[in-house]
Subunit: 439 residues, 2 copies
């Protein structure tokens, strides 16, 4: 993308309404614009990050055997009356009456709808287990939306729903999803800690929330060093496979044995038993929540399958959410400095920015065009006529993992300056070497 | 995907509510399920097609220089009051009041919102032209939703918006989008005809709708053979490039000179001037609509940029829609037979189905697993214990471009039967040959 014509409206001033780092930086770097309270339009730079996060979430859901579907945003009230949750949700639910005076709502979650799809379609235990997920916009009419996309009203969520014949199956699905989550966050360059949680309005017996560490996070977090030491992506010895029950059991054991709590649930007596060198503290942000709630919805909504003995059985369910749009903000909270965003490579909007310090200089222009072509669309080319200082500042603000700085002296000598955003390290290299380091 | 555990609920019976072929086949093949009148959940098979169509639409928009953004589904009423369209839309607009009693709506289109984003961000003619697009769910509260996803209430649309300094620029953007549309439809295996159209509630001076040919289409279409003879994807001599004004002019000339009309606007006097051998008639379905409306929104909403002489200018706009979810139905109307859907290769949910005629036969199982692995997820493996007849019928119904039939006799001899869905042609080949033909 050529910056001179890109729709990336950066701001020099920090907008007044932005109280936290990610909100400030997302507005300043031109990632999003607010269109109503708590509702945002995603501009090209922000949308590329959102899609990258979505892609990693999707790959890990698919890898765990979940199947992607897409349920609509608008739901009929009847389904929620069946489950008994229509009244429970109160004013957070955006209620709508259509032209025929039917009660509808903008879905805040999809337990009812997915249970309805399931009961229409699945008839036998032979078709179980099933894990269905979708990545769809949700709406929660927060009283006081704030913190940008971190607590918006319209937000993108991945929600998965598991159906199993019995408790043992449901536990296996729960563990698979937990592993998928830890892999997902690790791939995004985040440190995540699963913590036992209350089940709230979803209901159920077992629940974990996933907190990622960020210096500017909303809660204080206490945890054992173990969570940082595990490589969730490793498939080798000591690693975990979704498909091996013994791996899932060992993984779940690891996740639930070591101490982890936010200040709300902090248990100083248990914390004191953690040895000093294994104690870790930090700030954290919730980005995911998983629930096992058994037959709560399959019973209230009459969803059954024929069991092995021919008798009708209510399948056991769980549900599993990741805040996809929230993660964009959370990653920024975890990875930024005074100059701007520092994107992890896996979700960066572009691999690199190419900074042409002298537009109109034949050698600079030619070299930049050549580099730009080599990236096949995966670089942002700063071809504006602005001064060098503005280009450096914008590249730091937008947070591309690499910057390739092309000046007239270097271009004449066949050299560029390669800067790594995360470390600030700069080296003078040939263009070929810059491309090969970026990979 | 393994069919035994896939969430693909096929139906033996044709549902009563389905009046047209695509609606019947989408329900029967398990692509979608209705969740409220005119609102559908997309199941794995249908979602894969939707995503493939979305991908082609996106690639062609990007190729024409449009930039992808993502605007929210819920819009504030104020923007529509500014443009004066809040009352115009009547009951088709889904109106919502939030918890703070603010008037909101579920966007049926986005001229107002994109003009608002533009006026906040773009200040100079130097940043023009801009074409912004998004692929987002829309809602139109139809009185009588019907024909499945062809006339749903919640539907997925690609809508693009161009901003140019002057009339000449706006015309160039209009032509670019028209070319992008013809390329898009050709890549989906569709024959499309652009037709002059009324501008309706969007307003403006110039408008074309895009009709694709389908034997079961909603309107009668009369057109010159020229539209079928042009290769819109050709970049060579006689082809068209987005970047060359002379190509765009020649292309637009071709699209507007030859006769094309639906029965509503059929002009028998002009039709009589088309020579007999160039006359074509058929049925068609509208899948896209483009508009040039100049300064209608930039004036009413006060969007300006500084022109070359420093004076403020209202940019000229156009808008460009493609019914993405509607296209899934339209493609089926264009390509099916009595047995089921016939997917064009470019948008098929899977490249091939692998039919194991004898589950439990060691040679069949081994060969099928080997073939399935070779497709890397891009095949549907029918590993159910059903009889062969049911597998043949379901594969035809779901419409995979290729079927690889693996029976015990063939497997023992290292042979499979390869069937091309579109032609019904069957050949006995080695597994390697089957893979190489499918490509």
């Amino acid at each position: 993308m050529r910056l001179s014509h890109a729709f990336i409206p950066t701001l020099k001033e920090t907008p007044n309404e932005a109280q936290i780092a990610s909100h400030r930086l997302m507005l300043r770097a031109g990632l999003v614009r607010q269109t109503s309270a708590g509702i945002y339009a995603w501009l090209p730079l922000g949308l590329r990050v959102l899609r990258n996060i979505e892609r990693i979430v999707r790959e890990e859901q698919d890898g765990a055997g979940a199947q992607e579907i897409l349920m609509p945003t608008i739901q009929p009230a009847e389904l929620w009356k069946e489950s008994g949750r229509y009244e429970d949700y109160g004013k957070e639910m955006l209620r709508i009456r259509d032209r025929h005076e039917r009660d509808m709502l903008y879905g805040p979650t999809n337990e009812e709808m997915v249970t309805d799809l399931f009961r229409q379609s699945v008839k036998s235990y032979r078709e179980l287990p099933q894990i269905l997920y979708h990545i769809q916009w949700k709406f929660r009419d927060e009283v006081r939306p704030r913190f940008g996309v971190m607590r918006g009203r319209e937000f993108l969520m991945k929600d998965a729903y598991s159906f199993d014949l019995d408790h043992a199956g449901a536990v296996a699905s729960y563990r698979k999803m937990m592993l998928a989550y830890m892999r997902t966050f690790q791939r995004m360059g985040l440190k995540a800690i699963p913590m036992e949680a209350d089940t709230g309005p979803i209901g159920g017996d077992l629940s974990h929330e996933f907190i990622i560490l960020a210096p500017t996070g909303e809660s204080q977090v206490y945890y054992d060093a173990a969570f940082e030491e595990i490589d969730y992506l490793s498939a080798g010895a000591g690693g975990f496979s979704h498909e091996k029950p013994e791996d899932l059991a060992r993984f779940f054991q690891e996740m639930t044995t070591h101490y982890a709590a936010t200040d709300e649930k902090h248990d100083t007596a248990r914390w004191d038993q953690v040895t000093a060198e294994r104690k870790r503290e930090g700030r954290g942000i919730e980005v995911g929540h998983i629930f096992y709630f058994g037959t709560k919805y399959t019973k209230s909504m009459g969803a059954t399958v024929a069991g092995p003995d021919g008798k009708q059985v209510h399948p056991e369910m769980g549900s599993y959410g990741i805040g996809v749009s929230r993660l964009v903000g959370a990653v920024i909270e975890a990875s930024h400095d005074d100059a701007g965003i520092i994107w992890p490579d896996s979700i960066a909007p572009f691999k690199a920015a190419i900074l042409n310090l002298k537009i109109g200089d034949a050698a600079c222009d030619a070299l930049c065009e050549q580099l730009y072509a080599a990236f096949g669309g995966n670089a942002l080319y700063d071809d504006r006529t602005d001064r060098a200082g503005a280009k450096f500042a914008d590249a730091d603000l937008m947070g591309h993992p690499w910057q390739i700085v092309v000046g007239p002296r270097g271009a004449a000598a066949g050299k560029v300056e390669l800067k790594r955003r995360a470390t600030g390290e700069r080296v003078e290299v040939t263009p070929a070497e810059a491309l090969s380091r970026i990979g």
